[in-house]
Amino acid sequence: MTANKIKIFIFTILLFECFNCRAESQITIASKTFTESVILGELASQITGAKTVHQKQLGGTRVLWSALLRGDIDIYPEYSGTLLHEIFAGHDKNTDLHALLKPLGIAATRAIGFNNTYALGMRPASATELGINTISDLANHPELQIGFSNEFINRSDGWPGLQTHYRLPQKKVRGLDHDLAYRGLTNESLDVIDLYTTDAEIHYYNIKILHDDLNYFPEYNAIFLYRLELEQSAPQVIRQLKRLENVITADAMTTMNMQAKLERVPEAEVAAKYLSTQLNVNSEIVIDSRWSRLVRHSIEHLVLVGISLGAAILVALPLGIAAYLNTRLGQFILSCTAIIQTIPSLALLVFMIPLLGIGSPPAIAALFLYSLLPIIRNTHTGLHDIAPPVRESAKALGLSRTARLRLVELPLATRSILAGIKTSAVINVGTATLGALIGAGGYGQPILTGIRLDDTSLILEGAIPAALLALLVQYSFDLAERLLISKGLRS
């Protein structure tokens, strides 16, 4: 009984931990998964003061836009081009943005100053060798290896439009992470990549930018989108935010990007320095120590794993038993959960956003669904595989159905059930790192940041504890097996 109480206690704490982040109605600023957006998020958060929190690298355009519409977040940096060509694709390109946003309860600041548009880049040497200066010149070289960021490939104002506009012959285009593309370019596995014009790497890798001679790329002026109601509920925050209008030049932005990405200065510090020198705003920033970050990520990760796994056990065990007791129902249950399992984990996470918003709830829901199958299947198999004479003699003794389950069948299936829970737990620990993609934090956070900043030590800061946790889970289940499984069942 006491063990049960402890379990309930821990569960309650975890629940609180999970919803805590939303309980205090703070203003949430979010940023996209690239450094410039994170810096802009930091600038906004520092200039608006203590009332705001910054959810770094929360996701791509779609995730942030729908989170803003839902009110999960309140402010995020966006680009005018993205709004016109992606979010409001199909609308007249000359429509006033504010008129489109207002009915949705969204407003935008004026341009912050710089235009970070798309461009294509090559290694200067190969560009010179092939005589390529403009995007039009690419038409004569269908053999070139092209690698674009996934977002650029998919959005209408990205590659599809560019290809039509310039009649480019290249058919094979590889989709990859923007930060990996630079490395692909320098190690010559790629010849052409897409860039943002304020990217730090342009100078660092000395990349040749191809002239947009047919004026394809639209303007991508940086702006902040915010929920309209903030003008009433937090006017001072909006007033502060608007101090960034028309201030940040492309040059200043490139410099900040460079500091953050290449000199490894934390974004908060980059933003603070800019604000104090340019706008005379002094903000206090707290840069977490590695240790405190580790503790925070561990708690976040354990919350994700603990709640999703705990709930999965509570649901999957009865379902597995039901599947055993009723063959028809069992087939239905098993095929349903098998279908869930075939959905790629990232897709499942994204499916959850419209239902549950961003942060830990959708991540927990996705992890929960993922954890069901191994437990249900192993519970079912464990019970199903009990030797018929044993099952028969339990009946013959005159035990009722429930007594047979409790006294004979479940104890005999324990090994299989535990193995199922162990599989779920280990997969869960690994998959939970993806939670960082939708703002759930955890060990995925440093991994994500590490990939973005090309910082191996940061990647390891997430990867090593995640691996250790998986080992710990494995070990504790081995221990549990020794405690819970009857000696008579060990050979």
Binding site: P389, E392, S393, A396, L397, G398, L399, L412, G488
Partner: protein, 246 residues
Amino acid sequence: MLTLSNIQKSFDNQVALDIPHLNITGQQTTILIGPSGCGKSTLLKMINGLIKPDQGEVLFKQGKINTQNINLLRRQMGYVIQEGGLFPHLSARDNIMLMPRHIKLAPDTAEQRLQSLAELTQLDAGQLKRFPSQLSGGQRQRVALMRALILDPDLLLLDEPLGALDPMIRFEMQSQLKSIFQKLGKTVLMVTHDLNEAGFFGDHLVLLRSGKIVQQGTARQLIENPNEPFVEQFINAQRAPSIIAR
């Protein structure tokens, strides 16, 4: 005690049992014999409610066996299935004590019965602590017998309960069991392949072939007045080795 009437049972259109009438008299031992696959185990399972007849009914103490009363009736039938059917996750002792604990029999009573049954089966405390996987085949059979006897049931269904015992223990258990059955007035329905054992225990023998009763009566009646050549064949085939042994 036990009456079967108009029993029909088929597996996949193959007749497994076809018994118009069979009466098992109380307080005596009835032996089921017959070649392998003739339906002996099926008959025991049907009496225990593990298998439902396609037709006909089983009356136990004048009452019809049905799904409502089956679990209570089963507790009045000690059943040792052919494979023993011990629970591998429980020690021998816990296997035996599972039902006494489940129906909350007074611990003293249960313990007393356990002790006297252990004496009968010649199992010591150390052996009772072991798990089935740590016992020999014969020891397992004896544990299964103890488990069947612990609730002191009126009816015992024994499916080759002594098959795996060595001749010495077997001989001793035969005489002990027989005296227990007689002393306590148990009704016993036992399957055996051993005609000597059948003759030793059985007040009444029932010979089955392909699910049908060929002949029933005392061992002497079967031997002296076989009503079919098959009965003679069956008895002769069984008798040969024991003659050589003498």
